[in-house]
């Protein structure tokens, strides 16, 4: 039984690597095409679909990796996600008012996404340390 679990875990990690590669390729590919500002609406829509579709397998594998953990680890991830959501929401809210007040010009969605990912990982580390 534990050997089966290890095999399944290894398979999921291989899937994670594959899904990450797919994400990278579809993102770079879609950006490459869109940066050339094609006139075709169908092509632009297709590139959006490719980029969004490319991230879905990675999201699914991450969700499966968390789902196969024990209930305690799943709780850690839930808390970390809640912390990341709260911090990102607070930062976005702050940025909106800083922008309205004229202190900053523009916050890109890429910055918001990066902030969310970084705070998620930091929250995982902090939560794990708390329960250690």
């Amino acid at each position: 039984m534990p050997a089966q679990r290890t095999d399944s875990g290894l398979r999921l990690l291989q899937l994670l690597a594959g899904a990450f590669l797919l994400w990278l390729v579809t993102t770079v590919g879609a950006l490459f095409v869109l940066d050339r500002e094609p006139e075709s609406v169908a092509l632009r829509a297709a590139m959006v679909a490719v980029a969004v579709g490319g991230v879905l397998p990675w999201s699914w594998v991450v969700a499966r990796l968390i789902q196969r953990e024990d209930e305690f680890t799943r709780r850690l991830h839930l808390i970390a996600l809640a912390i990341a959501f709260a911090i990102t929401a607070l930062l976005v809210f702050t940025a909106v008012f800083l922008q309205r007040a004229g202190f900053i010009d523009y916050v890109s969605l890429k910055t918001v996404l990066l902030t969310m990912v970084v705070t998620w990982w930091l929250a995982i580390i902090v939560t794990k340390r708390y329960y250690r």
Binding site: P2, D70, E71, F72, T73, R75, K128, Y130, Y131, R132
Partner: protein, 66 residues
């Protein structure tokens, strides 16, 4: 919630990792339960009671205010 996990584990001379393996959770999970930082869900609490051949209320006990 109070629990007697540490005592029962010591009686069996099991490490946290060994108990974790028997009930299908990590050593960190057992440590968090023993230190009172984490209250397990019902299925896990029942598994823990079962490996010690005890009733669930012999292992876990509600405290005032729970």
């Amino acid at each position: 919630m109070k629990n007697r996990l540490r005592v029962l584990r010591a009686e069996q001379n099991w490490s946290q990792a060994e108990l974790g393996m028997r009930v299908g959770v990590s050593r960190q999970a057992i440590n968090a339960i023993e230190t009172g930082k984490y209250d397990p869900g019902l299925p896990l609490a029942m598994k823990i009671a079962r490996v010690f051949a005890r009733k669930i209320e012999d292992v876990f006990e509600l405290e005032e205010g729970d």
